[in-house]
Symmetry: C2
Subunit: 147 residues, 2 copies
DNA sequence: TTATATGCAAACCCTTTGCAATTCC
DNA sequence: GGAATTGCAAAGGGTTTGCATATAA
């Protein structure tokens, strides 16, 4: 949380080259995602509004969708609530979500390499390991179960 | 879809032994999940209502939660919409969801064995492979991308 | 100038909740 | 009889949409 990342320098070009306009809102959203590291649309909207009062939530949603299309940001589903957004070129990782305590830990995507390879070969399916969290029970909660 | 499964015979005992009551609504929900194979709360409610007109949606939600606690049903998040519920003792599988066409295919959980083992050893994290779908791009959509 | 982007408010989907009436045990 | 369960309707979170206004190019 709060780990900040640099926004890449080519974002203006990525927008322009596809005929999209460069607006203050888009810049602010992109910077907020970078500054937050992870954030829900609500959190991103708050961060943006600290800098510019009246940026609407709809604009945040529309902007995130747009920025995702041009691969500047991505989002992950951690569970029931809102998804969390981060910069696309930030260090990728997989989220482990505990069913009992609700805690989220991060793990290197390399752990999934054998599975990713197997699905590619068996099904021609190219996995995006980070999009959904991995669900289960963490060490502490397993221990607390007393088993 | 629509693949039906038998509801186990001990469900009445599982409810009673924990002090829960046996109600027509609970039986109907459980049977509907079995008959549907997979279903969203909305779909389950519809199926139930064909048999008994005025079973409310709230009851379906409350019942699914209860039946999950006593491990008679389980649910999976396939993406943005409502989760899909199935019988707990039905053949377990992992869902592969395509980012482009939105299609869902099923795969044997055994594919995840190496990853599950690695997470257990490295983190003490016990994975429930079926709870979230695996996201990516299916063979057809990859081909359609033109190489 | 004008198509694109925004703000606002209302609508939307999915789910939960409070409460009075019902029902299982 | 009394606690557990239900139905209803309202509220809740998260997200999308229609439309008039504003603005980047």
């Amino acid at each position: 949380m709060g780990r900040s990342a640099e926004v890449g320098t080519d974002w203006q070009g990525r927008l322009r080259s596809r005929g999209y306009r460069l607006t203050p809102q888009r810049q602010l959203v992109l910077e907020a995602v970078g500054a937050l590291g992870h954030g829900t649309p609500e959190e991103i909207a708050s961060a943006v509004q600290e800098r510019s009062a009246a940026v609407s939530v709809s604009t945040v949603y529309r902007t995130l969708e747009l920025l995702e299309q041009i691969e500047l940001v991505r989002h992950t589903h951690l569970g029931h609530g809102a998804p969390t957004w981060s910069l696309a070129d930030d260090h990728e990782h997989v989220h482990l979500k505990c069913r009992d305590c609700g805690g989220v830990e991060e793990v290197d995507p390399a752990v999934f390499a054998p599975t990713v390879r197997a699905l590619q070969e068996a099904r021609g399916f190219t996995v995006d390991v980070g999009h959904f969290a991995v669900f289960g029970r963490c060490r502490e909660c397993t221990a607390a179960l007393g088993g």
